[in-house]
Symmetry: C2
């Protein structure tokens, strides 16, 4: 006789009871083995979304997902390790300059990333716009590159938390993505199994983020910090604004270009600010002090680490980046101040232009995306270019423009509204 | 482009919004066609269970399930039609004497029944203990028998509400059986599609019923009466007690035998009382008055209708009924009054003795079940037989006895507690 059965576990959570450790272990293991069916797991995830899980349940669920696969070990490296995870935002290319920057400061960065689905882009999609670059590395290749270059951004292998992989795909089609216990355990099971010593979480809040309100984002951040800390990973979270997109571009090659500007010592102020803030947290969590990452941007050592990181994965760092075949410019409607540029509107436009995918099996366009020529708070003149849309397929402009409708406001000078700070809070 | 997609419909209900008519029609149709997957429907049913549905949504959901299949039509019969549905109880053999009794009063009874799953027995399982009797009839055979005999108890064909068939099987394995909107629409879609002119619902309440408390049972009854009435079926419900099992037996052949006693003018008082109460409601709903069903039990015409009904479906009315190979007697522990006999305890014991099945594909034992020799309120003497357990496999006694532990109380005479009335209320 098995220890439990799926209906018993579903009914317990449905009726508002906490699940026992044994129920959680059995359910995750039986789901991984295929003994619990997708329709049973989806009923349970809906019950979890609506009735919640306490901290013990979330920790146990995370542990069970970790136990479903292999664990990596970086303890043999000569350097400490630190990783970063963002819950996903529009124009969020921070991983690209951040990983080589932190490596240049003496901390190894094992960054397992994903592809984008929906309106937020994926780090691997962005890097794949660099000719020759490949995302798939074996565990041995990853370890060797970490030892040699100090930074690696690659696809997570199938061996890490396979239960999470299956569950994530299920949640995507069953309306159960937005459950804090499941988001937290999904992220943290992969990061803990990956074996990083320190972890900095960038938890986004605002129209362009999963978490639209600060209370939910804070709950997610606190949950993840507790999970990481309990698992022996030094974990800290920044709550950052995602009502406005980051930088001046959203799209794959467009964001690589902007990241290169940052690594060259320039780039949009907000991207630089967040890259440095996260780098400082990663260094502190890894126990490295006395190094100012701003110096490493200024002296070119972060750019050197970038070039070695890209070359190690087959990328041609000197090849020109792809450019979309067609452009469409949106002009400022009036003189005034750009008071608002909505992250979700921009993210949807970039997605519709071909930068993102609707289904996992879709391809993305390397050159597609949105550039904006002003940020909230900037003065604009009627008729100046406000946005440039990029795509290989001009038929896509119409739906992209529709998603931008109502997505920005130009107000008379003097009436500018208060702007949200980029870093809202720090949770440790 | 399809009108809707599954995630949109799931998320709407998940977030507490009522579903539109168009969303409901699309979802049920797409599920029937296999375009919506089981894991999507199970997430939706969990959201419905936890967030509810209003009356309009339930009516539309029911209509969509009816539209997923064929509808039958009895308007060509010379007699009015009336059907009965019980939400399921222990020892609930009422359909067996009731259908021929009402037929003997001049109203045709098209009774589509099911097999048992879990602790409540199934009407078809009971009748299949009669040698030769077959449950499967074509629509033409059913109509001919209704015209000729006036009563038919048979399995529902695959053509009626196929969406409900698939959904019921799904709910059974996903912990979503206990949702009033889904229970009501499941029952009523089949009854409305079946085409009966009048319908009497026996909604059980108590430990042995799906609905443990009166408020839930009342809500279910009111929901179903409204659904039937709105669909043009004259519908009435009785709320009846299921904290005590009905009659003196639970089990397949055991309950046929007890039904024959009732048809012969005898039988346990509660079974006779409920059979007559439901018969009177069915006659009234079918517009037949001036006939007292008690007379039809007394004059043998109900028994005649029974014999013709069984013979028409291949049953040998004169063959002896199967008897289990092994018996075990439980003695009264003390002199006193039987104060309580718990329906769930008796139902589980009968199920564990082999009268019911754990999975759809299991077979049932014709002779297995429980007989009790006293009813709550009866005086018993220490050492007299209180219960007799029947099974073909003596290894089953132990677990059956375990389920009866704490399932009955014998108290000193004089301290007898108040007994629940059988018919609690009438909802029209």
């Amino acid at each position: 006789m098995p220890l439990h059965d799926a209906v018993e576990v579903i009914v317990a959570k449905r009726d508002g009871h906490p699940l026992s450790d044994s129920q959680i272990d059995w359910m995750v293991d039986a789901y991984t083995r295929g003994e619990v069916a997708d329709e049973q797991m989806s009923a349970l995830t809906m019950a979890i979304l609506l009735n919640g899980m306490d901290r013990r349940e979330i920790a146990r669920w995370t542990a069970a997902m970790i136990a479903s696969g292999e664990r990596m070990d970086f303890s043999g490296l000569s350097r400490p390790t630190a990783d970063k995870h963002s819950t996903g935002g529009v124009g969020d290319k921070i991983t690209l300059p951040l990983a080589p920057l932190v490596a240049a400061c003496g901390v190894a960065v094992p960054q397992l990333s994903g592809r984008g689905l929906g309106h937020t882009g994926g780090t691997l999609d962005k890097l794949e716009s660099i000719p020759g670059w490949r995302a798939a590395l074996s565990n041995a290749e990853m370890l060797a590159q970490l030892d040699d270059v100090g930074a690696v951004i690659c696809a997570a292998g199938d061996g890490l938390a396979p239960a999470d992989k299956r569950l994530y795909a299920l949640r995507d089609v069953t309306g159960t993505v937005e459950a804090i216990p499941l988001i937290a355990s999904s992220i943290m099971s992969k990061k803990i199994a990956e074996g990083t010593g320190a972890l900095v979480l960038d938890v986004k809040v605002g129209t362009g983020a999963f978490m639209k309100d600060e209370a939910s984002a804070r709950e997610l951040a606190e949950t993840m910090v507790a999970l990481g800390t309990d698992a022996g990973v030094r974990t800290v979270a920044l709550l950052t604004d995602m009502s406005t997109p980051l930088g001046l571009t959203a799209g794959n090659a467009l964001e690589v270009r902007e990241s290169l500007e940052v690594l060259a010592g320039g780039g949009p102020a907000d991207v630089v600010e967040l890259t440095l803030a996260l780098a400082r947290e990663m260094l502190a969590a890894a126990g490295v002090d006395g190094v100012d990452p701003a110096d490493r941007l200024a002296d070119g050592s972060a750019m050197d680490a970038w070039r070695r990181m890209i070359v190690a994965q087959g990328g041609d760092v000197d090849a020109p980046l792809p450019v979309a075949r067609e452009q469409h410019v949106v002009l400022a409607p009036a003189d005034g101040v750009l008071a608002r540029l909505d992250a979700m509107a921009v993210g949807l436009a970039a997605w519709r232009l071909g930068a993102g995918r609707a289904r996992k099996e879709d391809a993305v366009q390397a050159g597609a995306g949105v550039e904006w020529h002003a940020r909230p708070g900037d003065v604009v003149a009627a008729g100046q270019p406000l946005l440039t849309l990029h795509t290989d397929e001009p038929a896509r402009f119409e739906r992209a423009l529709a998603s931008l409708e109502g997505g920005y406001d130009v107000v008379p000078e003097g009436s500018r509204p208060a702007l949200t700070p980029l870093v809202i809070d720090r949770i440790a």
